[in-house]
């Protein structure tokens, strides 16, 4: 991913900033210009809680090249208490235990590297709540 794009996405990835539509209350993550539920354009910024519940999941055994060293790894769609849903890895556990309904904390982690000499790209990963 080219670096200018990475810089632009820092509020989303580092701070979990989302938008709450002032018209209908829908929380969209990442923030958007137009609400997908009511087409409103007036948003307030909200910060997502660093926790969520697994909605659906998989264990990736055949990964993209950038993730070769990590396979097999669990990926899940996680829903935060604010109602925002997003895709992320769930780590620090046996990947086969990551199933719908699991509670996870969202921790700031290294996600990928921009080539061999590029920048390190961060974001949030899920970690099962003991």
């Amino acid at each position: 991913m080219p670096s200018p794009r990475y810089a632009r996405e820092i509020p989303t990835r580092y701070r979990l900033e989302a938008g709450r539509c002032k018209g209908c209350g829908k929380v969209v993550y990442p923030a958007r210009l137009v609400c997908p539920a009511c087409r409103g354009r007036d948003f307030e910024t909200v910060t997502l809680s660093r926790k969520g519940k697994v909605i659906t999941s998989t264990v990736v055994h055949v990964p993209p090249d950038d993730f070769l060293m990590e396979a097999p790894y669990a990926m899940a769609v996680v829903e935060t208490p604010e109602g925002a849903r997003f895709m992320t890895q769930v780590v620090d556990c046996d990947p086969s235990t990551v199933l719908p309904g699991m509670d996870v904390a969202l921790e700031f982690r290294l996600i990928r590297k921009e080539g061999k000499s590029g920048i390190l790209c961060y974001g949030h990963k899920g970690v099962p709540v003991a």
């Binding site: 996405e9 055994h61 055949v62 990964p63 993209p64 990926m75 769609v77 849903r85 895709m87 199933l99």
Partner: protein, 382 residues
């Protein structure tokens, strides 16, 4: 709107076609369609291709393909909607003829996936780069999440999924154009190597080279080209959320349902009127979700349909008699047109051992991404 018919079809064999380039495959399929109809001219053509740019480094496919077909000068444009590119090319051709703007239009689909590109990464460009691919998800991974949600909510089993592959390979074994002309057993599917849980290798469509083309014209002109034209009754196109996480129910493909409803309404028929269908089984779970969304089976009850024979040849609604993407192969941009050709053959009674008896109404459903776009066409033999 004018009534529109398909009057000719041509396609390459599907598979790893090392000796053929993207343009070679296009020319073989397009010439085949023209020859089939006995036509020597074109007003316009649409070339469906997901990613010539990334697979072989070639864009600007409209004029390139027109040039190589010996048709420089005709209107020609490339259309893209990921794996639904072929179906969308047919829709464009249908609209151009229906509107009265052109009489003879070629709709083609092409893809060259085996020229050394990183296929996993190219296909992933049909998912949301910012919210999905960044975190390491793959296309099989997205459909695996759909599968797990379906299993969780509706009790669908791994064996149900496996039977979709068993059924489609059984059909594909009878198709001389198919990439994998052999049958598989449920045990083979369920013990094949894991790709993304719960999907294994034999739940996934293969990486394929291939091209397919059909020639469309006004129905009133069709008899000039063939005794057995196939009328296009309807075309429905719809979009859904790009990212899987943005869907209320990850086990439901909204765009498929909407595109189906639009096509049924335009054709003035319902799912029970369809005699044979080709649906987008890029992964076994996709066939299950699509047959539900199209109304062939009740929501949540698509799981056992393949095993029980409901969607097999000889069943109530034979689905993917060509072998589907699973066995016939899935050269992504070509798939929508290849599906159309199977229905064209079925409605003309030319499907040989795969023939559905008395097939009169056929349907194709072609999908892009993890279901962010879907296009449905309904056809009638005349």
């Amino acid at each position: 709107m004018r009534e529109v018919a398909i009057v000719g079809a041509g396609m390459t064999r599907f598979g790893e076609l090392w000796k053929y380039s993207l343009r070679d495959m296009f020319v073989e399929a397009a010439s085949g369609a023209l020859h089939d109809a006995g036509a020597d001219r074109l007003d316009s053509m649409y070339v469906g291709c997901m990613s010539g740019g990334q697979f072989v480094g070639q864009e600007h496919l409209g004029p390139l393909m027109a040039d190589h077909l010996g048709m420089t000068g005709v209107a020609a444009v490339h259309v893209e909607s990921a794996c639904a590119s072929g179906g969308v090319a047919l829709r464009q051709a249908f609209m151009e003829v229906a509107s009265g703007m052109s009489d003879l239009v070629l709709a083609a689909g092409i893809e060259k996936m085996n020229d050394g590109a990183d296929v996993t990464n190219v296909l992933a460009t049909a998912a949301d780069q910012e919210t999905e691919v960044y975190y390491g998800i793959t296309f099989p991974g997205l459909y695996a999440m759909i599968a797990r949600a379906h299993m969780q909510q509706y009790g669908t089993t791994e064996e149900d999924l496996a039977w979709v592959a068993v059924k489609n390979h059984k059909h594909g074994a009878m198709n001389e154009k198919a990439q994998f002309r052999r049958e598989v057993t449920a045990e083979e599917v369920m013990s094949s190597s894991m790709v993304s849980e719960p999907l294994r290798l034999l739940h996934c469509s293969p990486v394929t080279d291939g091209a397919a083309a059909v020639l469309v014209c006004p129905l009133e002109m069709a008899k000039q080209f063939t005794d057995r034209p196939v009328k296009i009754l309807a075309s429905g196109l719809a979009t859904g959320s790009m990212a899987l996480a943005d869907r209320e129910d990850p086990a439901v493909l909204d765009s498929v349902q909407k595109s189906g409803e639009r096509a049924y309404e335009m054709a003035g028929i319902g799912p029970r009127d369809v005699n044979v269908a080709e649906v987008h089984d890029c992964f076994t779970i996709a066939e299950i979700c699509c047959t539900e969304a199209l109304g062939f089976v009740e929501k949540g009850k698509g799981g056992p349909a393949a095993k029980e024979g409901f969607t097999a040849l000889g069943g109530c609604i034979p689905v993917n008699t060509s072998g589907g993407l699973k066995s016939k192969g899935h050269p992504v941009g070509a798939t929508g047109i290849a599906q159309t050709i199977e229905i064209f053959r079925q409605l003309r009674g030319e499907a040989g051992a795969r023939q559905v008896e008395n097939a009169r109404i056929g349907l194709t459903q072609n999908m892009g991404g993890s279901g962010a776009s879907s296009v449905v066409h309904i056809f009638e033999g005349v």
